[in-house]
Every structure is written in structure tokens, then in C-alpha cells.
């Protein structure tokens, strides 16, 4: 099981500052606690600024087929947005980032672990349920689960021909991140302050 909780309002506001946004809420999975009320309130405030091109509330965006069907009807509003803000666990954000390959896709939530049954999630993407979510600094590709060393500040020297030296079947996560940020024109994201991972999530849940 996991809990999603909203990132701080300041974090989200600075993330969307001056940008047109499209909002996606995922409320599919009963194994995940979703902060419905708080998300709605925040979204009302964002919409009041007139920068929201559209929003949907759906279920199981982690299922790529389902997600594509749901998103298809809203492609005009999505295209009109500079940034897609996703209210879901880390798996949902990564699934959408992969599908909307030309868009900056950001996480509005942090995902925290709870002991017990793990929700039904697809195997292609993995959410470490770390607490503080780093997807917004990495173009929607998770540095925790896509990098063998879970590095937060960039590529180590161990990639050869695009593959991780730990597992030759695994693409280097940070090369994927670099290529994606380059493609969406957001290499500036890599100039963020040094990240130090916060393991102290218990008191925040």
C-alpha cells in the first residue's frame, strides 16, 4: 500500500509559475490513499489564475492502454499546455511522461510507503515510494528505480553504449533522463541545487 500526499503549495506554485497547465488526477487504485479534497482545492486555485487548459479525473493511468484512451479526447487541451501536472503515485507520472514524450510532465504528489498489500501496478515502471518525489527534476523518469545506484545528481561514469555496467540489459537511467530533458528543451532542470535524499519520511506521513 502507499499514500500519496500533495507536495507543498509553494513547490507546486513555483513549478507551474507562468505556465499553462493540464491537470490529471488518478483515483483508480483503492490500495492508494489519494488526498482528494486537498487536491481539488489546490486545483480550484490554479484554475482561478486562468492558466489551466483542462483537467481530467480518471482511474488506473498506470495502465497504458487505459491512459491513452482517456487522454485521447483531451489532446488539444494537452497540446495547448506547457506542462502536464499529474496527481498520482510515481508510477502514474512515469507512465504519462513516457506517453507524452514532448511534454514536461510533473508530479504534484509525493508517494510514501505503507506496509501491506502493494497495489496492482504494471511492471514497466516502478515507484520507490520514497516520500519526496524527484520526478520533476528528471523529466518524469525515476532516478531511484531507473538507476542502479539511485543517483539524484546525474550520471555516474559507469554507462557503456547506453547500458548500465551493473546490468547490460538495463538502459542507463541518467542517459534516458538526459535525452528526455534535451528533447523537451528543459536541460536547465539539471542546473537545480544539489539534491540530498531525504529518508526521514515517517514523521511526514
Amino acid at each position: 500500500m502507499l499514500i500519496t500526499q500533495l507536495k507543498s503549495k509553494e513547490t507546486i506554485v513555483s513549478l507551474v509559475d507562468g505556465k499553462k497547465i493540464f491537470i490529471i488526477n488518478c483515483q483508480g487504485c483503492k490500495e492508494v490513499h489519494f488526498p482528494e479534497k486537498e487536491a481539488l482545492e489546490l486545483q480550484k486555485e490554479l484554475a482561478a489564475d486562468g492558466k489551466v487548459t483542462g483537467s481530467i479525473t480518471t482511474d488506473y493511468i498506470c495502465n497504458p492502454e487505459n491512459m491513452k484512451l482517456r487522454l485521447e479526447k483531451h489532446m488539444d487541451a494537452i497540446k495547448a499546455a506547457d506542462l502536464v501536472l499529474v496527481f498520482s503515485c510515481g508510477v502514474g507520472v512515469q507512465t504519462i511522461a513516457e506517453y507524452l514524450e514532448d511534454k514536461m510532465v510533473c508530479a504534484a504528489c509525493d508517494s510514501c510507503r505503507l506496509p501491506g498489500f502493494q497495489g496492482v501496478t504494471p511492471i514497466e515502471y516502478d515507484c520507490g515510494q520514497c516520500g519526496e518525489c524527484y520526478l520533476n527534476l528528471t523529466g518524469g523518469i525515476c532516478p531511484i528505480t531507473a538507476c542502479s545506484k539511485s543517483l539524484l545528481n546525474g550520471q555516474c561514469g559507469g554507462s557503456k553504449n547506453g547500458k548500465c555496467e551493473v546490468d547490460s540489459n538495463m538502459e542507463c537511467g541518467w542517459e534516458r533522463i538526459y535525452r528526455r530533458l534535451e528533447k523537451i528543451g528543459r536541460l536547465d532542470v539539471l542546473k537545480c541545487p544539489t539534491q540530498v535524499r531525504n529518508y526521514a519520511t515517517d514523521d511526514e506521513v
Binding site: 542502479s148 545506484k149 539524484l152 555496467e165 542546473k191 540530498v196
Partner: protein, 292 residues
Amino acid sequence: MKITELFERGEFVVSAEVGPPKGIHIEGLVEEAKEYLSGVTAVNVTDNQSSVMRLGSMATCKALKDAGLLPIFQLTCRDRNRIALQSDLLSAAMLGIENVLALTGDHIKLGDHPQAKPVFDLDSVSLLHTICKLESGEDLGGNKLVGEPPKFAKGAVVSPCSDSVDAQLAKMERKVAAGAEYFQTQAVYEPEKFIKFMEKAKQFGKPVQLGIVIPKSAGMAKYMNDNVAGIHVPQEMIDELKADKEKTKAGITGVEIAARIIKECKPYCQGVHIMALGWESKVPDLLKQAGI
């Protein structure tokens, strides 16, 4: 002495590398370092290199310092969390070790204890950030240090011939922002790639030491091409190593190749870092042939 003082004076800085043994007898290493590395300014001591458990880097640094050499303490994030890393940094400073090279470290899967827990609580960038914090008189948790804080020359590494050199440059920029004062590189066999890399890296304004591994045989070159990230030995060099097996075995060909690479790259960098991998005895001849 801090290695950064030499860069500031505009010197071309030569360093070499030694790997501690898997055991407690260090006399041989110290004697070899004194004999063969006297023409070298500083000596890196590896930290459980390739994730193979050995005698510690800090203890070996202290032994080299006592023998009159200038050690560089390599510190990786693979085996220690942020508490142990900071504690080791304080211990090193207490022992008078002033040069640190901050590394993420090889993954545990590559070494001789693949069952171990990989730590990576910090990485090379956040380790540099942590060293700066300690230097400011505070630890990473925001707690004040007692008395005068430590002061280090902070080094880092970069892989200039990597097939993802742009991602490497982005990481280099983050290391500079986090406090890196100079760089040592992965072994270079393609001077033209290194020179291109340096054209882009010079914007960061930090000294870079060219990394050199003396090629010992055609087999070693092929092995590195297949297995070592960021290294490509061109076919002509492999052919050169194959041409005269006796000459190669004696180390003559490898030293010639390495000296040629140094000469070609020297105008573009601020020093050279030699990873002799057991061939420390060839270092004096290499420096002579390279004209440094």
C-alpha cells in the same frame, strides 16, 4: 599541502595512483611509491577500488604521508552513509590529510562481495556539497562543529571519452556547483575526443588532469574496450601492441603510447593523472618520455 595551490601557481600537476593490498602489510607499497613516484606531486589512494575489499584508503594515506609523500584520499559513497562519510572526513583532516577526491564509487555487483548492501546514501555531487558544509563549520544535519573546521582541496572525476559525453559535462557542471576544485579523468586513448571535451569543459574554469592507464597488452586493451565504461582503445593502438610481443611485454610499447597521448593532450589540460595498475616502476620512464 593542497594540490589546488599548485594549480593556482600554474604548475602542470602530475599525480599517480596506488591501490592498497588485501592485507595489513604496506611496507612494499610505501617503498615502491618512494622509489618510483618521487617525480610525481601527489599520490591517489583508491578506496576499495572496483568494490574489492582491501586495506583502507585513509590508513594508507597516513602511511604515505609519514613517508614524505602527498596523498590524495579517495572517498566513495558505496560503503558508507552520510554519518560515516563525514566522520571519515573529520578523521582524515585530523591526520593531516588535506586532499580528497570525491567519488560515487563502483557498484557492489562488480566486486568481490556481490552480496553486500550498496549504500549510495550520498553521491559524488552531494559528497562535495557535504565537504563544503563541513568546511563552513556545520555538518550536513546543520549541527555546529567544535573548533576550527577542516579544509580540503576537493577533487572530482569525469569521463571525457564517454559515449554520453554531454551527460558527463552536465554532471561535471553540477560537481563544480557543489564545490569541486579540480578534476581527474578516466583513462584517455583518444586524444582528439579529449581535446574536444576540453573545449567544452574549459567554460567551468577548473583544472583538469588527463587520465592515463599504461596499456600492458593487446588483451588488456580489448578487455577494457569490452568491459570498462568510458574507455575505447583504437584498433591502431591494439595493432601496435600486437606488433612486437616482447617489446610490449617489457612495457616499452605501452609507455611509448602513453607518452604520445600525454604529449598530444598536454597543451589542453592542467596536469596528468597516471593509473599505473601495478606498473608503478614504469612511471619514471613515462614521465621522461612525455617530457615532464
